[in-house]
């Protein structure tokens, strides 16, 4: 890609856009020049909203979802089933499940999966925190909704092994989700069916 003609400031903006997911060099360039042509007020709004999001966002100390109030709205919502916890890898998986409208329990976000080859073990995830919750909350069922790839399934296996002696019911989403795909990209209907039709391990 030839960037000749861009000033260092513009090039920096292009580079920053280029770091974003799904943005290739061409799109980054297009976004940068679009922004330059925008009225100043609009670009200020954009900059400010990015900053305020970064400043106001915390992780919920109960479920570790991204939130601006701690505990988050999902954890404090008394209309939700308090006795079921759905364990997911990423906040985006939680959001996908919420969008499916088929689940009304609690969540627990691990922030990753066990990945031996990348040196990520159980201690690097919110697994200890999950067990602390299970000790302190009256939970009947844990749904292990990690991704259906080797690392996700290893994570589910690891948690399942530790839970085996607790008597808590452990379930996994029903088949229908395809192997390897990330939960967050599954379509809502499939995801909804999978979580409703969950089954014991």
């Amino acid at each position: 890609m030839d960037y000749s003609g861009a000033t260092p400031q513009v090039q920096r903006l292009i580079d920053e856009f280029g770091r974003l997911p799904g943005i290739g060099p061409k799109s980054a360039q297009r976004l940068a020049y679009y922004l330059i042509k925008m009225p100043e007020e609009i670009s200020l709004n954009l900059a400010e909203s990015i900053l305020s999001v970064k400043k106001s966002i915390v992780l919920c100390s109960t479920c570790f979802h991204i939130t601006d109030t701690d505990p988050c709205n999902l954890c404090t919502n008394t209309y939700r089933d308090q006795k079921t916890i759905c364990v997911v890898e990423q906040p985006l998986d939680l959001i996908a499940l919420e969008k499916s409208g088929s689940y009304n329990g609690q969540y627990h976000v691990l922030h990753g999966a066990i990945s031996p080859i990348n040196g990520i073990g159980p201690d690097d995830l919110k697994i200890k925190e999950l067990f602390l919750r299970l000790k302190n909350e009256m939970v009947d069922e844990v749904i292990l909704a990690t991704n259906l790839h080797v690392e996700g399934e290893a994570t589910a296996m690891y948690i399942n092994n530790l839970l085996a002696s607790t008597g808590i019911k452990i379930t996994i989403p029903a088949r229908g989700l395809s192997v390897g795909g990330d939960l967050q990209y599954a379509d809502e209907a499939t995801l909804g069916r999978a979580i409703e039709g969950r089954q014991g391990i």
């Binding site: 997911p21 066990i114 031996p116 080859i117 040196g119 080797v150 390897g180 795909g181 990330d182």
Partner: protein, 256 residues
């Protein structure tokens, strides 16, 4: 088989990482072309034609398109997904450790049949749960041999005298052992590890096998004591030769 634009081969999925939002950059160990990085487009999408194929430790048949910078997957068909390994954390930890060793010990784009066969055989043994510990040790020794750093276990590194049949201290730094007459002057600086007499007997046997370069079927029985001792030696020596510890060792130790 090979055209300018595409090539077809069998391979093992050693590793992959996110590449953009929905693509994966796969480290594929191919039978014919060695280790190659390959982009699997949209592999993170659930309806992708690659998502199940590029799972770690899969044996696959692939068609790969050459790119200007990076090659990309055209087709990926699973030959063996080693489901037994993947449904058992102990086996999985050993499988992933083997695959990380290969990533670290072989060069990109250099065919290496010996290592390919060794890794495939080791995965087959893990899958059928056949002499797992022996298989892991034999796999690591083959990797050390192919890398050209197989140590000397028969004679003293300094004076070339035959070593006595007893326990000895092995130094990774010199790739061998000093006899009692040639005390290592750098012993304090080096990382010595004691290898037991029985383990040394086994390592000498392997050294002879390797030197003869005759086909060899590994079926030696090793007792637990010897297995532990060999594992201790291998860990120190592999870490030294790779110049770093394998990342998957932590998980290996956790579940074994």
């Amino acid at each position: 088989m090979v055209s300018n634009k595409t090539y077809v081969t069998e391979g093992l999925i050693l590793n992959h990482r996110d590449f953009g939002e929905t693509d994966l950059l796969v480290t594929l160990f191919t039978k014919s072309f060695g280790k190659v990085p390959v982009v699997a487009r949209r592999a993170k999408m659930p309806n992708s034609k690659f998502s199940s194929g590029v799972q770690l430790l899969n044996k696959v048949k692939v068609s790969i398109g050459r790119g200007r910078n990076l090659d990309h997957l055209n087709e990926c068909e699973i030959i063996d997904s080693f489901q037994t390994i993947k449904s058992n954390l102990t086996l999985l930890s050993k499988g992933l450790f083997s695959s990380e060793l290969v990533v670290n010990f072989i060069q990109d784009r250099t065919p290496n049949f010996q290592v390919f066969n060794a890794l495939e055989q080791n995965l087959n043994n893990l899958e059928t749960q056949k002499n797992i510990d022996q298989s892991m040790i034999w796999f690591q020794l083959q990797l050390i041999n192919v890398s050209g750093v197989f140590p000397e276990f028969m004679v003293c590194i300094n004076c070339n005298e035959n070593l006595k049949r007893k326990d000895h201290v092995f130094y990774s730094e010199i790739g061998g052992i000093n006899c009692d007459n040639c005390i290592n002057v750098n012993a304090d600086l080096y990382h010595g590890v004691t290898i037991l007499e029985d383990s040394l007997g086994f390592l000498r046997h392997i050294q002879r096998v390797i030197r003869s370069s005759k086909p060899y079927f590994f079926d030696k029985y090793l007792d637990d004591n010897t297995l532990n001792d060999l594992n201790k030696f291998l860990r120190i020596y592999l870490t030294y030769t790779a110049e770093r510890q394998m990342k998957s060792i932590k998980f290996l130790d956790l579940v074994n």
